[in-house]
Symmetry: C2
Subunit: 402 residues, 2 copies
């Protein structure tokens, strides 16, 4: 029998938006935390430890923001740790909670994440900050921007496998559509493949509607040991039981020029392959497409979702686009992906993103995702969260046991 | 019997300096890692996981630096996580390694930390960056600087307990003197209490020689499970066995005005009391002064060391200064503190600092600290690492078992 099984008690998400003018980032954080605490049916005073998730000191011009969030939600003097891994920060934070709980450093853990990167940060400034997440000694100097790195990666995928711009547009259509049923989403939209194809080109083949959103927002997830849940959490009596079944992490060379070619080649995320294999081994998953019922994918750009289907082992290399066209990843398909809307439709306040993925999967496994979004009978869900051009990847798996 | 005991296999430290002009931060990191790998008697290829320790994106204008260090030392595609908690970052990173190893996420872990905050960053700029680690909505705006916060805290300690400026100067004399025997130290100096008292006043009662140093540098520690050590590490055969015996973490309100008065009052670090009590409970320590043989203390300013003696429970509140005068914390005393020189004599490249504390304690427990610095027969050592004005505190304890 598994020792100290880790369970998911409750979650909360603030409204994600292009610009929240109500309060500051700490207020949005409180909004998410209050929702999570209520959902879990616990008192904040009972929770023993925290993990803080945010990306950069730059957006908010605030160092040591973890201490401020921790203070704002009433967790002092209890322990806290901030983790960070670029766009993968939230996924790493969930993995961190698993580690501390499993290690016995605490029996309950609150994970809170937020980012303040919407319109209050001028877009040239936020793009520059994000560019500083490239290698500033080698890449930044030559004008490297993230969308260009990703464009190069998907161009190679198109060349090698025949992946098409229309397939990418279909990802955007799906994720914007899914977001229509998510009341917290930043970018719900009913659009067509043609709309995406006609949107302004940013870095070929990526157009504006292929891109994820710079959002303001916060998210919170509360986890504990199974034993603690039984004693402290009202949600344990009232809700289906959700377990943390697997976690993995992988990394890759910073610069694409350093990555081994032709295999895996720059069109694949090696760190994601490593991370998912670790998580599958822990969760006892052999055939991910059959054994996973719902997944949140790091769709920083539409093509990344197609690449990720493959690197997560949902299908063979080069088959992602075709399976997408067949509807495999739509709601009602074999493995619905980004039911929340993903980074493209829901939004991408970096430190909150991976935590919000966890909340979505929890809701799906409980059967609480609501009309238009719920995957029927979902029992196992995957979260895929990555930073840089796949330099930091965390994959986590929850499952319902009852 | 303890399950999956965590052990310390080896460590390395780059030269700490006011300005390293040789190479970049990644080169200093490689320097520390190579020393640690050699000391541990392992191959980097064998190590399964990493924890990255650095403070801020600002000093190096590089986001996601964890990915760069990880790549530079040849760890891709293996898992990594960056942790951060201001000045307490390094101590939190060691605690993190303990959690991941204990949880079974890996059997070996490399912890590497560095900061690039020496003279290449103009001192007004680095002070401003550090000021942004105060509450930028409430404190930064009124011109709050760290030394002033600490001055206020020690003024209250002086008022309440009669702690004197001479006692603080004695901390500085001791730590600069200890650094004379540390070949990696940034600030070794043979000085007198009078020298400290005559140095320029910065924020009363703190003078220039009461302050820690802004340094360039890196440090690395390699840990594993006991079982992994037996199979993989040459140091396990060749060296005394060092175990990770306890860890704790505590936090406090960001703003001093919010802290409960009169107890603990602004002259005490509540987070440190919490953190050390957790660590003592794990390590089975009842009387720290008697049961701990050597300690590295977070002496950001000289008075902080005196406050920390008390909050770590080495003595009662108000007795720290007197015991210091009696030589209790000198080499040869009952509990030598900051044998490395501490932040004042060794230096304070933030992300490296707490990791370097771990290396010092490992060397002390092995009996390898060298002439002029070795504590005879040391078997248990404590590391105290904190951020902000004690808003994030990590306390870790190693012990020798043979």
């Amino acid at each position: 029998m598994e020792e100290r099984p880790v369970v998911v008690l409750g979650g909360g998400i603030s409204k994600f938006a292009a610009e929240r003018r109500d309060g500051t980032i700490r207020d949005w954080m409180v909004e998410a935390v209050q929702e999570a605490v209520q959902d879990a049916g616990v008192e904040i005073e009972e929770i023993e430890h925290a993990t803080t998730s945010y990306f950069s000191d730059h957006f908010d011009k605030q160092l040591k923001q973890g201490a401020i969030f921790h203070d704002s939600i009433g967790m002092c003097p209890k322990p806290n740790v901030r983790v960070e891994g670029g766009g993968g920060t939230g996924g790493l934070a969930l993995r961190n909670a698993y580690a501390y709980l499993k290690a016995g450093l605490c029996d309950s853990m609150i994970v809170y994440g937020a980012e303040n990167m919407g319109r209050h940060v001028p877009s040239d400034v936020s793009q520059q900050f994000i560019a500083m997440a490239s290698d500033t000694d080698w890449e930044y100097l030559v004008g490297g921007f993230y969308i260009a790195y990703y464009a190069v990666m998907i161009q190679e995928h198109m060349r090698r496998y025949g992946t098409t711009e229309e397939q990418m547009a279909m990802v955007s259509v799906k994720n914007h559509r899914n977001a229509l049923h998510n009341p917290k989403a930043h970018g719900p939209m009913k659009i067509t493949v043609e709309d995406v194809m006609k949107s302004p080109m940013i870095a070929a083949p990526y157009k504006r509607l292929d891109c994820s959103l710079l959002s303001d927002g916060a998210a919170c997830l509360i986890l504990s040991t199974e034993e603690w849940a039984k004693k402290h959490a009202k949600s344990w009596q009232a809700k289906p039981h959700i377990y943390f079944a697997g976690t993995g992490c992988g990394t890759d060379f910073m610069r694409m020029g350093d990555r081994p070619r032709p295999n895996p080649g720059i069109c694949h995320f090696r760190g994601k392959q490593v991370a998912s294999q670790q998580a599958y081994a822990m969760a006892g998953i052999k055939n991910p497409l059959k054994e996973i019922d719902v997944a949140e994918i790091h769709d920083a750009y539409s093509g990344v979702e197609i690449q990720s289907y493959e690197d997560l082992g949902f299908c063979k290399h080069g088959e992602g686009g075709r399976l997408l066209e067949e509807g495999v990843f739509d709601l009602g398909g074999e493995l619905p992906c980004n039911t929340s809307g993903g980074l493209i439709g829901f939004g991408h306040p970096v430190g909150a993103t991976g935590v919000a993925q966890g909340v979505e999967i929890m809701l799906q496994l409980r059967g609480e995702a609501g009309p238009g979004r719920q995957v029927k009978g979902a029992r196992r869900g995957l979260m895929d969260s990555h930073g840089g051009t796949g330099t930091f990847v965390a994959v986590n798996i929850f499952e319902r046991r009852d």
